[in-house]
Amino acid sequence: MTPERFLEIVDAYGAAARRWPAEERAEAEAFALNDAEAQATLAREAGLDRMLGAYRIAPAGSALTGAIIASARPRRRLSWAVILKGLGIVGAGLAGALVGTFLMMVYAPSTPTFADDDQPILTSFDVSGGDYDLDDTP
């Protein structure tokens, strides 16, 4: 590490060694330990670094964060995961309806019909009595 190159590094990247080029960092740090001029340069640039650090950015508000999260939703509605999930719900509903229909067919009592009823008809009119004599002779 030459004094000129050390000066170039600090002029460009500032005083914090973590910002220096990775491949030259160790050498530059070692150089600075034993060079008074290098330490003066570091002190000067550290002052500028500290000032630059004052320019902080206010964190994102909840409105911006919410809008960005909401902007992901149309994409998710169209994703295969969501489509398959929807199909799963519809499929489960159809399966339930089919099982219900099957159970109704097996266990529900059948409705009697006259067509296949071989029992005698229980309701009739007995017209053998005098009450229903059509003869109008007193």
């Binding site: 990247y13 002052g47 000032m51 950015i57 999260i69 998710r76």
Partner: protein
């Protein structure tokens, strides 16, 4: 093969459509994107627009991301940088002699008057830098990108980056401390 991209696992979760993944991605990347755009543009509202645009591209890209081609963080920096450059170009085209007032929320009351004044002074000095110098100092100092990453994003070599950075720091020192550049 294991990816060396620290964002890849989260990106896959986002592609899967999880609510938590979307929130995690916003929490991880929004502060950096907002810082980048805010310092490059010097305007909070425009910076928020850029951040939203970048996230729209992230949601679209998540399912198509191909690992190994570029780091995800480098890609979002490139997208944000291009969006900011477009805005700066348009701003120059409709340049007006009197710059518009820029509402820019800084540190709250807890930050103190001195801190606020110092922040405003640095902001003014950064805003006054030529675009390429501002770009270099924001990528290298504030975004803490390596010299190689910053140079690649700007489409220049490392030597050219160092030259821009040195000039930017001289100009900033002149503005803030009164040293001649």
């Amino acid at each position: 093969m294991t990816s060396n991209d620290p964002d890849e696992a989260l990106l896959k979760r986002v592609a899967g459509g999880g609510d938590g993944a979307v929130r995690d991605m916003v929490a991880r990347k929004l502060p950096r994107l907002l810082g980048l755009a805010n310092r490059l543009l010097g305007d909070r509202a425009e910076a928020e627009d850029v951040a939203q645009d970048v996230f729209l591209r992230i949601w679209r890209q998540a399912g198509k991301w191909r690992s190994g081609e570029a780091l995800f963080d480098t890609w979002i920096h490139r997208v944000a940088l291009n969006l900011c450059m477009d805005r700066l170009r348009k701003r120059r085209e409709i340049y007006v002699a009197q710059p518009p007032d820029r509402a820019d929320p800084g540190p709250g009351p807890d930050g103190g008057i001195a801190a606020r004044e110092e922040r405003d002074a640095v902001k003014a000095a950064i805003d006054a830098l030529p675009d390429r110098q501002r770009e270099a100092i924001v990528l290298q100092y504030y975004q803490e990108l390596s010299n190689v990453e910053a140079a690649a994003l700007m489409g220049i070599g490392v030597e050219a980056l160092e030259s821009l950075l040195a000039r930017a720091r001289r100009n900033l020192r002149a503005s803030l401390v009164g040293d001649r550049p």
